[in-house]
């Protein structure tokens, strides 16, 4: 700990946690870069809207390509809000306080954009409402849409409720532009720290946290069922639910560590996000990775032992065939190696763990690719009398740009939330440190 608790005052905490809330050159340059990139991706999407899904590499056999792999990744990344806030929070872990808002920001932005990612895979996006108008309650697709919307609403509330007290502080203390102060005042709901108000907020947060656990489990379990309810080799698995959920925690923990690192550095939060937090998050990451490794062994060893005909084709392609290179890099570089390294304390220091987390996150994306695409290239009935680009799936440039677009959108949302609101809960930190507003 580098913090000197004796000198800590309420004003210091406020200034430490809110000094980044201002529009500076760096912010403008970064947002400009993101906006230009987003416009380029939107242009690619406009090409798809005009010409149709044929501009992507998806064809009759591989109908779920990058877009669906991306969708699974986005849903996965959004799950971390539940692990950090609900599981660790309800378990009474105090050290997570500075990380809850980061986790919730990631959850909200990924969950919000996950819905858009699915729209990018629709040939007729203007018919989106038909999902609700004509949706069948028997279909996991309707369940998925339902739980994602619900999870997004819960996460948004969970991001907002602990912020109400912070808004009140910002409205009173900050030397900020009047429009921003007006927004804070509106969002603070005239919070004056009365016991009755605090009671409402605390009770609501507790309710949200309890609701969040089953809902988060549902969103990724249902997403896994989109695959597992079919009899395709590689998807036909009864452990797909926990397999996806544990994988989601791996991706989400890595995303939180990366976000922690950059917020800490750029917003100078070294006194609040300390090496201890990185160390603890490293332990969280290695724990969820071990669980995920366990499910991976089950998922590949059991069908690999039986080698039924379709499984044999699928697994041979993964283990030693066309997809072997990607498969082993992902499994070893994104799972086994990080676990081995994170067992040792020096690798849980901020910089090493950042590098490991980036590797884990990239591997997590390619893992979704490996789950979604290869099995579609060898369906039960042989592929015949079709051109080569139907047989082998090759993502196109336009498709890749439409896939990158959502990432840029997520970065924009995270940037905006973290720029205009305290990254670390202000009121909660002050209460925990025992310094009261005077």
């Amino acid at each position: 700990m580098t913090m000197d608790d004796n000198k800590l005052t309420f004003d210091k905490i406020t200034s430490d946690l809110t000094h980044h809330i201002r529009i500076n050159k760096g912010f403008l340059v970064w947002m400009g870069f993101l906006t230009v990139s987003l416009v380029a991706c939107l242009y690619a999407y406009s090409l798809q809207l005009r010409t149709g899904l044929g501009v992507a590499g998806i064809r009759d056999y591989v109908t779920w390509g990058l877009y669906l792999a991306n969708f699974v990744f986005f849903v996965a990344a959004s799950l971390i809000g539940m692990l950090i806030s609900a599981v660790l929070g309800l378990a009474g872990m105090k050290w997570i306080t500075p990380l809850t808002r980061i986790a919730e920001t990631i959850a909200v932005s990924f969950a919000a954009v996950a819905g858009l990612v699915i729209v990018s895979d629709m040939g007729r996006p203007e018919r989106l409402a038909y999902v609700f108008i004509y949706g069948r309650p028997q279909s996991p697709i309707l369940w998925d849409v339902t739980v994602i919307i619900t999870y997004f609403a819960l996460s948004l509330l969970l991001l907002y409720l602990p912020m109400i007290a912070d808004m009140a502080i910002l409205h009173r203390k900050g030397a900020l532009p009047s429009w921003l102060k007006g927004t804070y005042k509106c969002l603070s709901l005239n919070f004056t720290d009365t016991p009755a108000q605090n009671r409402i907020i605390n009770r609501s947060i507790r309710m949200l946290l309890i609701l969040l656990v089953p809902m988060a489990l549902s969103i990724h379990t249902v997403t896994s069922w989109l695959f597992a309810v079919t009899s395709r080799a590689g998807w036909d698995s009864s452990i797909f639910g926990p397999y996806f959920v544990s994988g989601a925690f791996v991706a989400g923990s890595a995303a939180v560590i990366i976000a922690m690192f950059f917020f800490r550095k750029n917003y100078k939060l070294q006194d609040y996000i300390t090496d201890l937090h990185f160390d603890n998050m490293g332990k969280v990451l290695v724990t969820v990775s071990l669980v995920y490794l366990y499910f991976n062994i089950n998922e590949f060893l059991v069908p690999g032992y039986k080698l039924q005909r379709a499984d044999a084709i699928h697994l041979t392609e993964l283990f030693s065939g066309k997809d072997a290179c990607m498969f082993w890099i992902v499994q070893i570089g994104g799972l086994v190696l990080p676990i081995l390294l994170l067992f040792f304390r020096p690798f849980r220091k901020p910089l090493p763990i950042l590098v490991i987390s980036i590797a884990v996150l990239i591997a997590a994306w390619f893992k979704r690719y490996l789950i979604v695409i290869p099995t579609q290239e060898h369906p039960f009935l042989p592929i015949q009398h079709v051109p080569q680009n139907f047989v082998v799936y090759t993502p196109t440039l336009v498709e890749t740009m439409i896939t990158i677009g959502p990432f840029i959108l997520v970065l924009i949302i995270i940037t905006l939330i973290s720029k205009f609101f305290p990254v670390i809960p202000l009121h909660e930190t002050a209460v925990e440190k025992g310094v009261e507003d005077v």
């Binding site: 069948r136 028997q138 709901l189 609501s204």
Partner: protein
């Protein structure tokens, strides 16, 4: 490694050769090429041909002249284009009739007249086309057979009777006719027993299985057909609905509430679970939002 490379080269060469061969081998026999339509094409035939085309051909060949055929290997191609149109009527007729993978064989799918109607329709896209003289129809000299069918309770058998039309327009029992019996099932017709040959009285007897399910009244649809692979006869099949099946009332797969049915036929427990879950969770969300809104009223100072 070197062997592997050679092997791949060989494979590519073989594939290229194979492609050339398949592309060239659909040769129409000369006598078939010379076949002409049985009649002059009329606008009515063209119109009928268009309907047949839409139903059977368009899914692969696309709209004639629009070049929107499906990307298959070998490519189906646009039939209004020169490559297709430079064929004789006989060649097109032969190709429709026999098919060649991936093109289906339409011999038993599109009746002969309609196959000619399709050609009549396709020729409307070729302004240079001049129809050759229709083939003169020769008088039919084969046997003209009509089948009848009934169930004989005493012998518990289906009796198929064949009559043939004689030259003086009289009818006589037809002996030596090969007859096959079919019963209609969910997906097409199922043959009952083996093929039988009619006796001197023109009769053939078929035992009907005792355990074959019928509809709720035990009715089964049965047809009797003449086996005439070389098309030497003019045969009229017999059809009848007989109450000789086992009465079975089983609701259709889409008639009851089930996972695979439409939304209106979703299982009740599933509808309840889904609706209740949504209502409970969103009830909490609404409750939380409403109580948070109270914060505004509770502020002091």
């Amino acid at each position: 490694m070197c062997f592997k490379k050679q092997f791949f080269l060989l494979l590519i060469f073989a594939a290229a050769l194979g492609f050339r061969v398949t592309a060239q081998t659909w040769v129409v026999p000369d006598d078939q090429k010379a076949v002409t339509a049985p009649a002059k094409f009329t606008p009515a035939m063209q119109k009928q041909g268009e309907q047949v085309y839409t139903k059977n051909c368009q899914s692969c060949h696309g709209l004639p002249g629009k070049d929107n055929w499906v990307k298959l290997v070998p490519p189906p191609g646009d039939l209004a284009k020169e490559k297709a149109q430079k064929q004789t009527d006989g060649e097109i007729f032969y190709r429709i009739t026999t098919g060649k993978v991936p093109m289906p064989e339409f011999r038993n799918i599109i009746p002969e007249d309609d196959r000619w109607n399709v050609i009549a329709y396709l020729r409307t896209f070729n302004p240079k086309y001049v129809q050759p003289e229709p083939s003169a129809k020769t008088a039919f000299t084969g046997r003209i057979v009509t089948l009848a069918m009934q169930y004989s309770e005493p012998v518990k058998k289906i009796v198929v009777t064949a009559h043939e039309k004689l030259k003086d327009n009289d009818k006589a029992p037809a002996a030596g006719i090969e007859v096959m019996l079919y019963v209609k099932r969910f997906f097409g017709n199922m043959q009952v027993g083996d093929m039988k040959t009619t006796n001197a009285k023109g009769e053939a007897f078929f035992e009907f299985p005792a355990d074959l399910p019928g509809n709720s009244a035990g009715n089964v649809d049965i047809t009797a057909q003449v086996n005439d692979p070389k098309n030497q006869m003019k045969a009229t099949p017999a059809a009848a609905t007989l109450a000789i099946g086992v009465p079975t009332s089983r609701p259709g797969l889409t008639e009851t509430r089930a996972w695979w049915s439409t939304r209106g036929k979703a299982p009740i427990w599933l509808l309840l679970t889904y609706t209740l879950s949504v209502l409970i969770v969103w009830g909490f969300i609404v409750y939380i939002v409403v109580s948070v809104m109270k914060i505004r009223k509770l502020s002091q100072g």
